[in-house]
Point group: C2
Chain length 219, copies 2
DNA sequence: TAGATTGTTAATCGATTAACAATC
DNA sequence: TAGATTGTTAATCGATTAACAATC
């Protein structure tokens, strides 16, 4: 019988962890050494109890009456997320969005390091984007196995997304960070995390619509 | 006594609506005229009952035994989200990410049209990005009032995010689509929707970590 | 009519919030 | 000790899922 080590941590909790890290790092830079859950909560407009629940879900403990050790907490959360050791990744698709992603330094803090780009467009192959070389997509398999890369950042045009994903899987890619709007179909065991820009935009739009309606009523 | 017109639609529902639109549009292009909730669900790996609940939350009704009229459903959802009439927006910050956003055609389907960029970098001002002109940030107030723009897409470096937001509010901006990692502080009534790339990456990381651990155990 | 599918009402599940004893 | 803060257990809230009558 396998012991289930822990009820898996709720996704909402996982999604909040990076924002905690952000607050903690800022605090650390300012020289703070202890934080309370209520401080973190205040910074992020959350409730202290939620912060405590989230933190405890990852398995850290604080000190009653004192709070959490900032440095230790950062280390713990990063470990929990797997952000403590950097994952190298390949970028597939070096168009507008791809260029932005490959040049974005911020991912380093999240343990993601895009080390090269791939494209089918001959005019891009061999060029450098933000100091990173663009290879012919045909070389993907070769480089995946040689460099032991698991993660692909997918930023191709929607039409090509599914084909590119299939091909990448055949090359040995294990996880996709999918920036296309396409729902990828992948074999069991392959991880896909889609960045839903439209979801976010939908929330914005509907809130704005409500707001504008409310203002109209007032007048 | 004010009649509360409707319990506000749950955010998870709003976030799923764009994916329904995607399926519907694809279907429409193929000439389909009716869909069932179970078809949509199948395409997106959801449950039919959830699709029905979501749709009914927006106020559409289908036909028992038949399904939903595709064209009508598209129109309805777009209306619900406010995607039926395009919102013009300004981009603030024309770096890597900004350049990608200003050039991304896909937002048009979501009712967002970025019509110009703004930056403080003199070397960018006056240049065109994807056919759109970059203005000096100082001109923002002038152009916001002249063109009646409500929305700013914020893609400046983190350090400058809060200042830029304050300035934009003073210029008349009502809603921010915030691509920076910063928690913006804004006056009451100003809308901020943050795109949490790190949240998404956190989910990917933790899933990958689990997966790799599971594989290790098996071997 | 028979089969398919909606939409409502109720049941379940999971996440958030509250209360409070334990502890530094 | 007094004040602050954690972490657990229980209560509440909201979203998802199930069941099924209504209807095309």
């Amino acid at each position: 019988m396998t012991k289930k080590i822990s009820k898996s941590v709720p996704q909402p909790t996982i999604r909040r962890l990076p924002s905690y890290l952000q607050v903690l790092n800022e605090l650390k830079n300012k020289g703070g050494s202890y934080v309370s859950s209520s401080f973190i909560a205040g910074q992020l407009q959350l409730e202290a109890i939620q912060v405590r629940k989230d933190l405890s879900a990852t398995g850290v403990t604080g000190q009653a009456g004192v709070g959490f050790d900032v440095a230790e907490l950062i280390k713990h959360i990063e470990e929990f997320l797997g952000w403590d050791n950097t994952h190298d990744a390949f970028l597939i698709g070096c168009g507008n969005l791809g260029a932005a992603l490959i040049g974005y330094e911020g991912f380093k803090d999240s343990g993601l390091n895009i080390i090269a780009g791939f494209d089918v467009d001959k005019s891009k192959i061999g060029k450098m984007f933000a100091g990173k070389l663009v290879f012919d997509l045909e070389k993907l398999g070769n480089l995946v196995s040689r460099m032991h890369i698991n993660i692909a950042v997918l930023a191709v045009p929607p039409r090509q997304a599914q084909d590119a994903a299939c091909y990448a899987v055949s090359c040995g890619i294990k996880a996709f960070w999918n920036f296309t709007p396409v729902q990828l179909e992948v074999p069991e065991g392959i991880i896909v995390e889609r960045v839903g820009l439209e979801s976010s935009l939908a929330v914005l739009s509907s809130r704005l619509k409500e707001q504008l309606k409310a203002e109209k009523v007032k007048r």
